[in-house]
């Protein structure tokens, strides 16, 4: 079975470490916050200028001046700080964020990522994604392995306009966890009940499969 969105978030959360400053993108990455292991403290960075994002507010706590990068109303946790966009991207570009999790349309064997535009169809803008992929050493991309029609999104070369080049090393899809190195995807784990053959069939880019590919456990 392919992973659910929640399982993907849960799997990514296993990469968190105590004391990490983490930037979570919109969508599945946002859900990672729900799976921070007990006893571990992480600080969430929101690129509009908040470090230490807390849960959504209760109805009575809603404050128009306190939002996250997805424009949702949020709260600040104890130990939080707020700052300008300039400061926020100094943290990001300067490599001070320990882990960045973001979505993508496509990735390729060179570590390129496309996530912000489908020419002629969808133009929403890159927001902070280009700065995030350029500034972070430690990035996990969460995405669907293939389109609904079965077309692979793990490619030899991205077909869409890039968000960043040679910057992605780890990808979690609904089918597999892969690492990118030496011009290939390296299969590290597979979703429960998903065969190596299915992953191979849905991976257009060069895929290296070791003798043993453990199943993820939930």
């Amino acid at each position: 079975m392919a992973l659910t969105r929640e399982q993907m978030a849960e799997r990514v959360a296993r990469e968190l470490r105590d004391g990490f400053y983490v930037n979570l993108g919109i969508g599945i990455p946002t859900l990672v916050a729900n799976y921070v292991p007990k006893g571990m403290e992480v600080m969430l960075q929101s690129e509009n200028g908040l470090l230490g994002m807390g849960p959504f507010p209760a109805d009575s706590e809603v404050d128009a001046d306190m939002i996250n990068a997805g424009k949702q109303t949020v709260t600040a946790r104890v130990g939080a700080s707020v700052f300008s966009s300039v400061e926020s991207f100094a943290m990001i570009r300067g490599g001070h964020v320990d882990l960045t999790v973001l979505g993508a349309f496509e990735v390729d064997v060179q570590g390129n990522i496309a996530s912000w535009m489908v020419p002629g169809k969808l133009v929403k803008g890159m927001g902070g994604a280009m700065d995030l992929v350029a500034g972070a050493e430690n990035i996990i991309v969460t995405m669907m392995h293939a389109s609904k029609d079965g077309e692979s999104k793990l490619l030899d070369r991205c077909s869409l306009p890039l968000t960043g080049c040679a910057c992605i090393k780890r990808v979690l899809t609904d089918l597999a966890y892969v690492e990118i190195a030496d011009g290939a995807f390296h299969l590290r784990e597979r979703a429960p009940g998903v065969s190596v053959d299915e992953i191979r069939a849905k991976t257009a880019g060069r895929l290296v499969v070791p003798a043993l590919v453990p199943e993820m456990k939930f």
Partner: protein, 233 residues
């Protein structure tokens, strides 16, 4: 004191001198911390051909979106336009010129502009459409693109509190692009929720020192929320 009293008594006075084809930098992120009354005044003025620099472009009927609807904007420099259907329509049809700019690069362009730095190198956007036709330099084995800074005829800013001297404090994440914007206007206009007498604000808590501020006005704000999200009680 008089020379440092930045207060003006009307929105007409706040934006006096704003004319067609000027460049305006606006603070705000989404609808959070936007100078909503100054934007409404630009609409009333009816000036056309504006170049607007702002992270987003409001929504269809609020914030900068109203200037878009009235076709007052010729060119938009922004990082994210996802919430605005009219923006996407004008962009795809070619009616609106758009320079999509990575958010951190946009912030730094404005910061640099206000700080007298004409350009800077950043890794952001290298090897992507953003880096096309830009100078590339290698530092310590990594490639960077040259980005030029931004200044504007007017900067419009939303603060929380200010004193008569134009020292401004922002509240929570309504800060965002506002302090950078305040530095980069030939004329910087700040609207706040409350103007207090000098001496009431703690000097070490000031976000924007008054030297950057030319005009100051107190307004009433709707503070519309784009995505009201709550947790179960």
């Amino acid at each position: 004191m008089a020379g440092f009293d930045k207060r003006v008594d009307s929105y007409e006075a706040a934006l006096a001198g704003l004319t067609d084809n000027m460049t305006v930098i606006a603070g705000g992120f989404g609808l959070c911390g936007i100078p909503e009354n100054l934007i409404a005044q630009i609409r009333r003025l009816g000036v056309k051909g504006l170049t607007v620099v702002s992270n987003n472009c409001g929504v269809d009927d609020f914030g900068l979106g109203v200037l878009l609807k009235d076709r007052q904007i010729r060119k938009m420099i922004a990082s994210y336009v996802g919430e605005n259907a009219e923006f996407e329509r004008q962009l795809l049809s070619g009616e609106l010129e758009v320079e999509l700019t990575p958010q951190g690069t946009l912030a730094e362009k404005i910061r640099a502009g206000g700080a007298g730095i004409p350009a800077f190198f950043t890794a952001t956007g290298y090897g992507t459409p953003v880096g096309e036709n830009k100078e590339v330099r290698e530092f310590n084995g990594r490639r960077y693109i040259l980005e030029q800074s931004i200044t504007a005829d007017f900067a419009i800013v939303k603060g929380w509190k200010a004193d008569w001297y134009g020292n401004v404090v922002y509240r929570h994440t309504a800060q965002n692009f506002n302090p950078a914007a305040a530095t980069a206007g030939r004329i910087t206009v700040v609207e706040v929720e409350e103007i207090v007498p000098p001496g009431q604000l703690e000097p070490s808590q000031i976000h924007t020192p008054g030297i950057y501020v030319d005009r100051l006005i107190q307004g009433r704000f709707e503070k519309r929320i784009e995505k009201r999200t709550t947790r179960a009680a």
